[in-house]
Amino acid sequence: MSELTYLQAISDGLREEMRADDSVFCLGEDVGAFGGAFKVTDGFIDEFGPERVWDTPLAESGIIGTAVGAAVEGLRPVCEMQFADFISCGFDQLVNVAAKLHYRQGLSVPVTVRLPSGGGFSGGPFHSQNPEAWFLQSPGLKVVAPATAEDAKGLIAAAIRDPNPVVYMEHKHLYRRAKGEVREGRYETPIGKARLAREGEDLTVIAYGAMVLTALEATEDLDGASIEVLDLRSLYPYDREAVLTSVRKTSKVVLVQEATRSCGVAAEVAALIAEEAFEDLDGPVLRVTTPDVPIPFSPPLERAVLPQVEDVRKACHELLAY
């Protein structure tokens, strides 16, 4: 065990998989000589050489399309989108080609696409988005979003080893903020299993990615109320059993996501709760999300739209008193 940042943990997981499996390689803009925009692949080109660490042109469609071809031929590519926002340029290759090849032709496409996502540092509308919900609408893809260093490493390994295309959401705000003990060597965090970040009795907060930290901070001392925090970790498939078990226990739920409101992960989980646990509810299901707006560049405006600790506290107070 050693203490790593979330960023180091992703790096460590990727490096371990590349060391263990020659078919794993990475490609993206500036991932080679520069070591990646956020330095996830720092030093990789020295260890693995330019054949396994490709600097690509500024063309997401080309990056993902190349990776899909390589995956069909038996390799396990890991694509880096410099910012999650730019995956829209590679959208067709991901949702129409990668996601559907197995359905149409029975081909396995073990591609991992890394998406540095999220706001909170004045990145503005093109460098702050959380576009995970787009991929929940694309059957054939899996989507994961770790919140801790340990899961960041375990889920990158699971994504690489999975025979399906996996979208790996890595929150930029967690890169250096989230730290924790990380196991050495190779291990896998199972896709589709949630993590109980804190056990509680009175209310459940369901979150993922950076919002897990926000949820934990917001509910650490909430007038003595016992708040359960469930970290989804996987968004598709997600851990329905864990959600329902927690809801049946506490009967009150606040869902927190940094992504914009409409048709998001929180909406999907809220719908599941309404369908499967209606008779266990002791109050309305509440969502704390970014409103349906582009992310502003101005720091006070950005703070106003992204879910803050205070927003989560307010929602919890409201529901506890319901």
Binding site: E201, D202, R248, D280, L281, D282, A321
Partner: protein, 408 residues
Amino acid sequence: MSSSPTSAGVVDVTMPQMGVSIAEGTIVEWKKQPGDAVEADEPLLEISTDKAESDLPAPAAGRLAEVLVEAGETVEVGTVLARIETGDGAGAETPSATHGDGKAEHDDGNGGSPVTPVVRRMAEEHDLDLSQIEGSGRRGRVTKKDVLAYLRGRGEAPAEPKLHTESPYREAPAEAEAEAPPQAAERPAPGGRELSVMRKQIAEHMVRSLRTAAHCTTIVEADMSRIEAARGRGSYLPFVARAAIDALREHPTLNATFEDELLTVHDEVHLGIAVSLGEQGLVVPVIRDAHELSSEGLATRIKDLAERARSKRLSPDELRGGTFTITNPGAFGAVLATPIINQPQVAILDLESVVKRPVVVTDAAGNDSIAIRPMVYFCMSWDHRVLDGALAAQFLSTLKRRIEAPAT
């Protein structure tokens, strides 16, 4: 509460006839003290007969004038237990809610606040009048916490351990335990606690059975694959019950009672099903004429009896007259047990956990192979005074055959 009656109507509260065979009852606890205002149908006291405990509702609204029989005393049916003064001003401030079957009435008793789904469900399961519960939520809304606190106050464990039906919600058992000490503190023995009326009755019955019958336990192992496939998400129990009834038809000597040196072999199967009430104890409601029911019919009856047992709504007659009993504590993972016979019956069948085990299976051509199968032990305790081991083994082997090939 300071109001006093102006016109003196007095209504007697008497020990009710709780079933044709019941002659007397014991006062367990008074829920109201002399001077308290009572509403019609509000629980006034808890009474216990030799089979069941239940709440006795107030026959009229008014003020509890006097209590004539103290808790702990046993009196005959018809005895006057207390008197209620009725009349203008004697009642509680609000008129009593009319009791109907309609679910919507719960809303009215709650100051107009909507009732949340979980509270509505719990109110139905525990037969609660929500107007009796003080709501701590916004605008006086009754919350799940309020209901749980109310149930704990009533001494009713709100969440039941899994047994015959799934527990729909869970509650930390530690809280129920924490409530016990104040009661215990009044007792002379430090740290000691007297058993509840129900537990005392169980204790007496169990010791008497062990003293009376020559207990012997025979065990067979059965492959539950076919039932596993047929049961879907339901319990094993109704299928086992159906197979046991069929086996009893083939070996009627086990469907019998032995009392006063006389053995009575019964034509009808009145099947007792043990239902755990958590820490409070255990009751064995009886499915009358169980031989006339399919496994689906048995499943419905078992669920109904278990639910009513937990909400104390069984009539004492439903707890008598069994000819054979099945007990099923298997949800907790135990694989073997030696149950005590439910007197005056002559045998009791115990269904423990179904566990996957490697077993040798033989195909039609006689070839052996090892397969993974859901296996169970059927443990039957029987009375060696009435029958011998060979018959017990024959019965269990018939049961096994019917479990493994239920169609035949």
